[in-house]
Amino acid sequence: MTSVAEQTTAQPETRPQPSARERSLRWARRAPLMPALIFMIVVTQLPFLATLVISFMDWNAYYPEEVGFAGVDNFKRVFTDVNMRDAVLTTIWLTAGVVLISLILGLGIALLLDRKFRGRGVVRTLMIAPFLVVPVAAALLWKHALYNPEYGLFNGAITWVWGLFGSDNPPQPDWISNMPLWAVIFALVWQWTPFMMLILLAGLQGRPLDVVEAARIDGANGWQIFRSMTLPHLRQYLELGALLGSIYIVQNFDAVFTITSGGLGTANLPYTIYQIFYQAHDYGRASAAAVIVVLGTIIIATFALRTVSSLFKQEAGR
């Protein structure tokens, strides 16, 4: 990696016109990169440009004669739309809730698994299973097989436990209606905790143990070691987990679509835009919403990328 760093930093400030040979060499270097780069630009950037154009248009597929220029009307409608504002808040709650809870649970479980005990490999394998269930299947499983008030496993277990104590009228809450957003969050936490656990466990296992041992001999207690040695070491893994988790959960569609169909105040941004586009067929408004979401994402992503970038520098400097 050091040779790479030298090559990139050793560029002279004022470059003379490169000779033909030099230029062809440079293109030879770029050539392997080009297919992937061009493909990505065509498939991800061009559609976004189209979205930008459509966002300034009056275009509803139900009224094909009324297509035209709309100025900033679509943006006005999106900004004054209560549903959109709710969707932004829901997205924030959903993402923050899932990422934080699964990070904390994942950290606890990673610490439990970072010890030698009988069947450790088996427990680790069991823990991964939730992450390997197809998201739609997992959401269906939670909705029908676990949350269902009549025959779901949760209420079934409550009936069983109550039955053990001789009670025949156990509480049978309707989980999804009573706490719709939490219902979605828990289903997602179940899927994402293994992900966080895997990353943090890998981080824990890369921890220099001799230093920990030295601190212990010097009389540091467990909490002190955890707070001032383990946690700082895990920091970059926690950041990585939070960043990657956020990227995926902000975009979550499957769980919201399946468990609540966006009802009961659980419609997040992807679901809301999907609805405006797929059900209301209001292309202009859907595009304006998408443009606003992209701008918001860019602002947040700039900070997020800085995190990755600092991780990356550590790696490059190694």
Binding site: L37, V134, N221, Y278, V293, L305
Partner: protein
Amino acid sequence: MSITDTAPVPATRDERGRPVRKRKEGANVWLSLLAWVVGILFVLPVLWMVLTSFHSEEDAATNPPAVFAPLTLDGYREFFSGGASPWPPLLNSLTASVVSTILVLLLCFPAAYALSIKPVRKWTDVLFFFLSTKMLPVVAGLLPLYLFAQQTGLLDNIWLLIVFYTSMNLPIAVWMMRSFLSEVPVEMLEAASVDGATLSRTLRSVIAPVVMPGIAATALICFIFSWNELLFARVLTATVAETAPVFLTGFVTSQGLFLAQLCAAAFVVSLPVLVAGFAAQDKLVQGLSLGSVK
């Protein structure tokens, strides 16, 4: 947590004079037990899904649950031959996942080469461009792609999904491959260039063997993400190119006694990912962290 439970008061000392922590033994048993309980709690919904899929519809819908009900294959029979056949969606998912994974590998390998082994100028910018496309909400590109497909008659065509899945996974794959390629020892490359090997020969016989595990990890992650994708498949396909997750959305609304069939369907659709993921657990970690955790 193991560390928090080491008592500062040494009970005895071992032969080298270091304190031996007596209490640790007892605490360890409890922590191991806790680890087992947590592991079982997390896997319980999956086990419940598998068990229910082998129960009859009547036994699946009981409260309290009929854990020891007789086993039957009715749920699977109903899923495979009850209504619309799940085979075309399953085959579509397989085609889309496998073909897009191959395309991703073909595109990401040379790109990662140009970003690590013989880096272009400003290679970090290029790398971050790739990652930034992953942060764009996919829903923002959904409408133009839909309109494009409508105009060109590509709606409900599996190739459109393949192209989209390739673009969805390419940034992750480039990051992963770059991280693996940067581990190829420089001496080996120099030796190859002294021997006068061409680029494609260097790629095939020097670099590929070293990064084979990395390629496997990348392929696994791309396959899983393509197999799981729902939003685009739902919007861009209908009856012909429908994928397995779209087929599963038929179970979103309750339809009387259908829990066993639903569990059978969920299990069948998840099976390829479960098998691939369990078989390559360590690759999973590498892939999910974009290659930064090895």
